[in-house]
């Protein structure tokens, strides 16, 4: 996709307390999302990684501190204007019964439409490009509920692409997919990153994160433990510190990125 200026404004969390109701998951959290990078947020269950992503996506409002987009508080900006800068693929989006692929992708155009500005040729073109980029053009008139999990995830990514935002946030985009479809989705993410977008994703698989991310944020108990390029921070020490998992790190023979090999401790204990 060539449409739209793909320049990401800086997105950052500054000294924020984030949580649900009165339960704070993170306190005094500061995170900077580097421009033009594929950032992956990592950490054990309940470490606050999805909470951080929700705060970045303005789904959660910090009870203290702030989330800044282009240097301004994200909650003080009109939500439709934010939606033209920042796209979000949540963990479990809902496909309405009977909706077709093309209709679902078209809903990504919402922030670009208005009461008087009806469906345009531009909208049509962007939707076609988004479907081509995710390789789902031939599924356009199919019902979303007929598709496989992998196809469906590509449809959702196409919908977010139709939003034409320089920034993409993806909350566990590979969960519930088999390994082939996980790689397919991550390859697609890498392609979108190469085209100039800034990506932020929450992933569970350490090795996939190390292979695809250009910037890692490792979290534990609501705090950022380590941050940086995978080659620098994926070490046996950090993995132990973040996941409590003794391991060895070797070079991935395919990509040269760090590969985490958990120690055989569990078997020794039996």
């Amino acid at each position: 996709m060539t449409a739209g200026p793909l320049v990401a404004g800086p997105l950052e969390v500054r000294d924020a307390t984030i949580g649900y109701g009165r339960v704070a998951i993170s306190e005094g959290l500061s995170v900077n999302i580097p421009e033009g990078e594929f950032t992956v947020i990592l950490g054990p269950n309940a470490c606050g990684k999805s909470t951080l992503l929700k705060a970045l996506a303005r789904m959660l409002k910090p009870s203290a501190g702030s989330v800044l987009l282009d240097g301004k508080d994200i909650h003080s900006q009109p939500t439709r204007a934010v939606a033209r800068r920042l796209g979000l693929l949540p963990q479990s989006p809902i496909a309405p019964d009977g909706i077709t692929v093309a209709d679902l992708v078209a809903r990504g155009r919402y922030p670009h439409q208005g009461i008087l500005k009806q469906w345009s040729a531009e909208d049509e073109r962007v939707v076609a490009e988004a479907m081509a980029a995710t390789d789902i053009s031939e599924l356009a008139s199919r019902g979303v509920d007929e598709l496989s999990g992998g196809q469906r995830q590509r449809v959702w990514i196409a919908m977010v692409l139709a939003q034409q935002t320089p920034l993409l946030l993806l909350d566990e985009p590979t969960t519930f997919l088999d390994i082939t479809h996980q790689i397919e989705v991550l390859d697609l993410c890498a392609k979108l990153h190469h085209e100039g977008r800034t990506l932020v994703a929450v992933l569970h698989d350490l090795n996939q994160a190390a292979r695809y991310a250009t910037h890692l944020i490792a979290m534990r108990a609501g705090e950022v433990v380590a941050e940086g390029a995978p080659a620098d921070i994926v070490t046996a020490e950090t993995v132990k510190q973040v996941f409590d998992l003794p391991c060895r790190i070797i070079d991935d023979p395919e990509s040269g990125t760090p590969l985490v090999i958990p120690s055989a401790r569990a078997r020794d204990l039996v």
Partner: protein, 354 residues
Amino acid sequence: MSTAQSAREQAPELDAPRDGGSAPPSRTGRRILGLLVLVALMAALAILSVAVGSRAMDLGQVWEGLTDAGSESYPVVTELRLPRTVLGLAAGAALGLAGALMQAMTRNPLADPGLLGVNTGAAAAVVTASFFIGSFGFAQTIVFAFIGAAAASVAVYLIAGAAGATPARLALAGAAVTAAGYAYVSAVQLMDAATLDQMRFWSVGSLVNAHVAPMLPVVLLIGIAAVGGVLLARPLNALALGDATATGLGVDPRVLRVAGIVAITVLAGTATAVCGPIVFVGLVVPHVVRAFTGPDQNWVLPYSMLSGAVFLIAADVLGRVIARPAEVQVGIVCAVAGGPFFLYLVSRRKVARL
């Protein structure tokens, strides 16, 4: 996503029978044609509604009644049947649209405006007023009913957590308020036979007294709320993808829910105040409509509005014909005709999995 597996297993058998394979433009054409058919049907039924009654008229007499102040049919047409027809159409449109809005807003196919407490709120207000004031006219009934409907939906919204309201909490709060409201209404009616009498016709849903209703305010209220409601189509399309996705697309679900509840309350509250609680229109009509239009609210909302008007006025005409010279209340006809149809629809849709 959790249903991905089952969807994949079902995919082969679903491939063949779907008509979704046809090009999108033909679907749009079909939907525009459908709108025209509905408008034509509505016009025909409106004429029929003016012509049919304890004294039947032919088309010539209907025309005279509408245009010639000196004619024999003029008083019947302008004072009784025209107001009844106009209010029937307005109330039907309001209920159809309110039902579609309610289902879209809660993402719950079983939701209807009654789930917002509109019906019980109206009934509770009418029995309360009747208990304290004694008997009063139909115009006052409308005012009390409207106030009660509005108060109940505000109560449901607040109990559901106001800005924190989720579809599930709205449904639960609505069910709780409805249950409590019904208990209250029954209790008052048991204590005081006069209120039971006052409530009898109103509570089954009837257009008999429509000619006493303040026509202009009713039509105006419904008209304004209908325009507002239809304008919610696009954000509702975003909300259909889940609250999180909607937020990502630039829709604030909390703001949208407040706007939706206001529109539904005015639409259903006005309709309920005028003709009593008629439940099946708001529940069934959007279902039939979605089976034809698909899930796009830009079509579902206007279609539900027109279909609601057609359904209610058809039921009212039928009610005036089947037991002549007596009348069967429109609420009863709707329930008797709507119930089995709804069952048929549910069983058929299960097979087609539309």
